[in-house]
């Protein structure tokens, strides 16, 4: 058995893998000790929390909502008519929630800009997103029902025309 094969058996990957990871961990330690100076516990909590925020908080939350929207008897022909606008609206809130929910008390004092209005604008954007989705649904229904409407018109015309 060659040395490289023995190494792979014991380690599970090539020596290059180990060297690259060790180089990265050394850089992490160099920057990490500086990152942790000061409020070490707070920073560590934020770091690990940031790693888990999506996977253990956001994902279960939006997955449950998405499943709920697909329950049998849901009123829409495709869940995407509600999924897409809800996703975009939720995304805007996720990024801009401190301003939308007025969590930044010193915003006006600092910038000279009005703190109100973010919530209203986010709600109006949300309304526009759902309205656009509704319009899309209407247009698609109209197109889908085209053949049936043309057939009905033809029947009416045929009935009304004396032979």
């Amino acid at each position: 058995m060659s040395g490289a094969t023995a190494f792979r058996r014991r380690y599970g990957a090539s020596p290059l893998h180990l060297l690259l990871v060790l180089a990265s961990f050394a850089l992490t330690a160099y920057a990490g000790t500086r990152l942790l100076k000061g409020d070490a516990v707070g920073v560590a909590l934020w770091f690990v929390g940031a790693a888990l925020l999506h996977d253990l908080v956001l994902l279960p939350l939006y997955s449950v909502l998405d499943r709920g929207a697909q329950l049998p008897g849901a009123p829409w022909p495709s869940v995407n008519y509600v999924r897409v606008p809800a996703f975009v609206s939720g995304l805007l809130l996720l990024v801009w929630w401190p301003l939308v929910l007025r969590r930044v008390g010193h915003y006006t004092a600092t910038t000279g800009l009005p703190a109100g209005g973010f919530l209203g604008r986010w709600l109006l954007i949300t309304a526009a997103l759902f309205a656009a989705s509704a319009a899309t649904l209407l247009v698609r229904r109209w197109h889908a029902s085209g053949p049936a409407r043309r057939a009905a018109r033809r029947r009416r015309r045929d009935r009304g025309t004396p032979r």
Binding site: G12, G112, G117
Partner: protein, 441 residues
């Protein structure tokens, strides 16, 4: 890998030993997310993960480079007063003199940094969604290399989240993170980028293969499926392309409600949710304010008739009243204000006295040295700043007293403020009271 892998060298037993309870647990995942069939989306697979991964590869590289530029733009190696991270050590290895041309340089690099960061949020979330089965993969650690790689992934995902969250909170002035933004965001970036480079090195070939074969749908459990494909997929409610389009729509929406604050003019009104999407007023002084006079404790008496400008040079000192400053030759420069928070203003027409002319007052010619600029502001970051000689010598660098034809408003630094081409906004010190030319003693 067999459970008795570590027993090499011993004679092989003739009969297979009965696996112990620990081995049985490792062989079969417990009910729940560790079982591959728990994850039912038919969308997950190498192609989707690779698409999001490649977008992030380009985007994160851009974020890292513009972030390094922003760090250099503060000239942290010039003077301790400029340096928010004095313990940086070798992480400042690349620092260089920040140029003054083009005058919109920082406006561009930092606008790109913040806009790209915001726009990448849905891509990052989608990438994490696409690989969620791997978080719960069973057994949790298969080999030494696998364990090490998972530790590196914690640094990757934690680092990405940490950088995005601190950045997005900081641009909204929501300072709830545990420390100074500059320290956290700078060192956090270096922790993140180490894990990022490793991840790209390990995964890029596989990602490129996956996007080159968009039609291939590897079967669950095969090596090509990479643990991402569901063995029990639910009926599709959206196509893979549809999912990518939805994420792209999210990025587009974020771009539309954000980017205008980095463009200004009419476009600012499109930045419906960005922190600097409105104008604080109208008229010559109606452009964006970083910090108002009241918010940093500037009192009317600080900037009233008793205000004086002290200009110091080697062995000489001159004290000027505002009238004496106005009596000096006035020059004009059209320059923007560009903030680390990503917002900026279009060029404003400033007028005032050239920094070289003030250096000449204390006997320094056109080869003026660096200058320490001090504000009447008491304490706080950037109440004093050192400007490098190339910044002092640029003929557009002014101690401005007027803007757009009007006297500076208190919020824009009355009676006098510095304006330097290409520099970050906070280097354009407001309410200036003292200029000290030359190397600090």
């Amino acid at each position: 890998m067999e459970a008795n892998d570590g027993e090499q060298g011993r004679p092989a037993p003739t009969a297979r030993p009965r696996p112990g309870p620990a081995a049985r647990l490792l062989a079969a995942p417990p009910p729940g997310p560790a079982r591959p069939q728990f994850w039912r989306s038919p969308l997950r697979g190498p192609w989707l993960t690779a698409v999001f991964g490649l977008v992030l590869l380009v985007g994160v590289t851009l974020l890292f480079l513009t972030g390094l530029l922003s760090y250099a733009a503060y000239n942290p190696d010039l003077a301790p007063v400029n340096d928010q991270t004095p313990g940086k050590g070798w992480l400042g290895f690349y620092l260089f003199s920040w140029p003054t041309s083009p005058h919109w340089l920082y406006r561009l690099t930092q606008g790109v940094h913040v806009v790209v960061g915001v726009v990448l949020v849905p891509v990052l979330l989608a990438k994490l969604w696409s690989v969620i089965p791997k978080l719960f993969e069973w057994p949790p650690v298969r080999s030494v290399s696998h364990g090490i790689e998972r530790l590196s992934l914690l640094l990757l995902v934690g680092g990405a989240g940490f950088e995005f969250v601190t950045g997005i909170l900081n641009v909204q002035l929501h300072y709830i993170f545990p420390g100074s933004f500059y320290t956290l965001h700078f060192y956090g970036a270096w922790v993140f980028i180490g894990a990022f480079v490793v991840h790209v090195a390990f995964r890029l070939p596989r990602a490129v293969r996956a996007v080159r074969a968009p039609g291939a749908r590897p079967a669950a459990g095969t090596p090509e499926a990479a643990g991402l494909v569901s063995p029990r997929p639910a009926a599709a409610t959206v196509s893979r392309r549809g999912a990518v389009a939805m994420v792209g729509l999210g990025s587009l929406a974020l771009f539309v409600v954000t980017a205008g604050q980095s463009v200004g003019g009419w476009w600012r009104h499109t930045a419906l949710l960005a922190p600097h999407g409105r104008d604080p007023g109208s008229g010559p002084n109606g452009f964006q304010i970083n910090k108002t006079a009241a918010s940093v404790g500037i009192r009317p008496s600080d900037i009233g008739p008793a205000w004086r400008l002290t200009v110091r040079g080697p062995g000489r000192q001159v004290v000027l009243t505002r009238e004496e400053l106005l009596a000096m030759e006035q020059n004009e420069a059209a320059l923007p204000i560009a903030c680390v928070e990503g917002w900026s203003t279009p060029d404003q027409l400033w007028s005032g006295v050239r920094l070289t002319a003030l250096a000449a007052l204390v006997g320094l010619g056109t080869d003026a040295p660096q200058v320490l600029v001090e504000s009447v502001q008491r304490g706080g970051s950037f109440s004093s700043v050192a400007l490098r000689d190339n910044q002092v010598r640029d003929h557009r660098s002014l101690l401005a007293v007027r803007v757009n034809g009007a006297v500076l408003s208190p919020d824009h630094g009355y009676p006098a403020r510095v304006i330097v081409p290409g520099a970050p906004g906070v280097n354009n010190t407001k309410w200036v009271t003292r200029l000290t030319f030359g190397e600090p003693v």
